[in-house]
Amino acid sequence: MRVEDFLRTSARRLPDKEALTAGGRRFAYGELDRLSDRLAAALASRGLKRGERVVLFMDNAWETVVAIFAVLKAGGVFCPVNPSTKAAKLAFILTDSEAAAILTLARLAPVAAEAMAGAPSVRFALAAGGSTAGFDDFEAAIADAPLGPLAFAGIEIDLAMLVYTSGSTGFPKGVMMTHQNVDAAATSITTYLENTEVDVILNVLPVSFDYGLYQVLMAMKVGARLVLEKSFAFPRAVLDKAIAERVTGLPLVPTMASLILQMKDIVPGQFPDLRYVTNTAAALPPAHIRALRDLFAGATLYSMYGLTECKRCTYLPPAELERRPGSVGVAIPGTEAFVVGEDGKEVPRGETGELVIRGPHVMKGYWRNEAANAKALRQGPFPWEKVLYTGDLFRRDAEGFLYFVARKDDIIKTRGEKVSPKEVETALYALDGIAAAAVIGVPDGVLGMALKAVVALRPGAALSERDVIRHCAQSLEDFMVPKLVEFRDTLPTSENGKVDRRQIAEEMEAAR
């Protein structure tokens, strides 16, 4: 099934059922389908052609949901970008993806405009939420769109989305997902979560992040109701909304779980409608699992694991949670997971190796990046296919359940998102006065890992921790900004003269 048909099918089946609650507005399936049809026509009338990329530089607004389906209905490929992305990186993504258009929000338009100045492929731009010079108005575009049927959008093996993810080289890589890939992942996940149209899913995770994005796609697929929130900055307000909207599904990352568990006046029994809670991105500490199960008594807790390259790898069947709280389970339905050694063969149970994934959800590759493809997609056990090498080290227990051990590369997971230390270091070197820099992850109760910048200054330079953090905040997405800065006279280097990030991390670990 093509992804836009998730919405079309539900709209045909349940035209008057509420599909989306966002920003104080409520939309029925039929209305959402019509709005995205009209926006698709508006995109086509502006010259968007089949297969062309459209960057969605938007937050968790209703317009984003409409935009996702509109781009697909027009035959395009959507490319979601975190709204805290700064102009230089946005320009990189626009250029790398050769985006034909960008859809954004009025408040983000200045950043988008700056990025577009360096991205000649962009032919038109729309902004929602207020008229903005240089951008067509989103709602006016919908209102003025030509009537009549849309052109043929394409088939299932066409690209549906391009999702940029941090690469260890410091440059983000575009993960190519076809409609078939997305449908396979969404079908598998909604199967084990047992989602149906009676579900009400509350999503505060950024729709630019695949965990958040799939909440939208899966809700539309099963005909559920999606409650979209912009931020978890006010946990109480979000949880009150969960109660008021009678939410049945609550997707979390460990940072959110930790914020919930810090609240003093929240007690078990307040969430009678909640059927399930999911966690992914990093395993929850066993103490948090226990506390969440107490607090959300009656709801089922799913521990899951995944990466953008195949959306989701594994989930722990809830019945196993008590016995193996540290496990992220088994391969999701319809897929397989292996733990292999350097030779590509499975290692014995209990031994650590690289997690390899096989299934219809595995990406087609990284957009125009053959070097990265050669590393990630390799010949598997069968001659007709390639399988995904995740770069994650795992082991299995005696019954075959999987446990995350570590990353093979230096990618740091913070707040549930992947950060390339190289990308942060590149930003640090752009600050006058920095002679050497290394970015490492240090354990943090709320963030999972907090980013720490270890820097050496040039002689005579006088930079404070604030100066360093401010500089990073101006050039990096929020989650990539270091929380801590340590100043040293010099940083250790490896034999080839590069700063030895690993040695710094190991010294710090030993000192803890």
């Binding site: 709204p83 805290s84 408040r107 912009k230 931020s231 978890f232 900055a233 006010f234 946990p235 109480r236 307000a237 009150d240 940072t255 959110m256 914020l259 609240m263 003093k264 006046d265 929240i266 709320v446 963030l447 604030r466 100066d467 953090i469 401010r470 905040a473 929020d478």
Partner: protein, 87 residues
């Protein structure tokens, strides 16, 4: 500008704009929408308000209506501690 508001603007400038200029920030703008604070930022803001204005803030009070704009925070602080203005 009240002393509460100037202390608050100074705190926001220093901690969420990293020394940037908070004077241009409209008092009724959403701090979340502006991308200035996230969940850890809210917790930092709450600690600051408790300490600076000698007030206690409960979980149930940590909601956008009280804390999502400079104007809302100033009004909230005044309701919690009428003497704060003089502090």
């Amino acid at each position: 500008m009240s002393s509460t508001e100037s202390a608050l603007r100074a705190f926001i400038a220093e901690n969420f704009m990293y020394g940037g200029d908070a004077t241009a920030l409209a008092a009724d703008r959403s701090l979340i929408e502006e991308g200035l604070i996230d969940s850890t930022g809210v917790l930092e803001l709450v600690s600051f308000l408790e300490e600076r204005f000698a007030i206690q803030i409960g979980d149930a009070e940590i909601v956008p209506a009280n804390l999502d704009s400079i104007a809302a925070i100033v009004a909230f602080v005044a309701s919690k501690n009428p003497a704060a203005e003089a502090a």
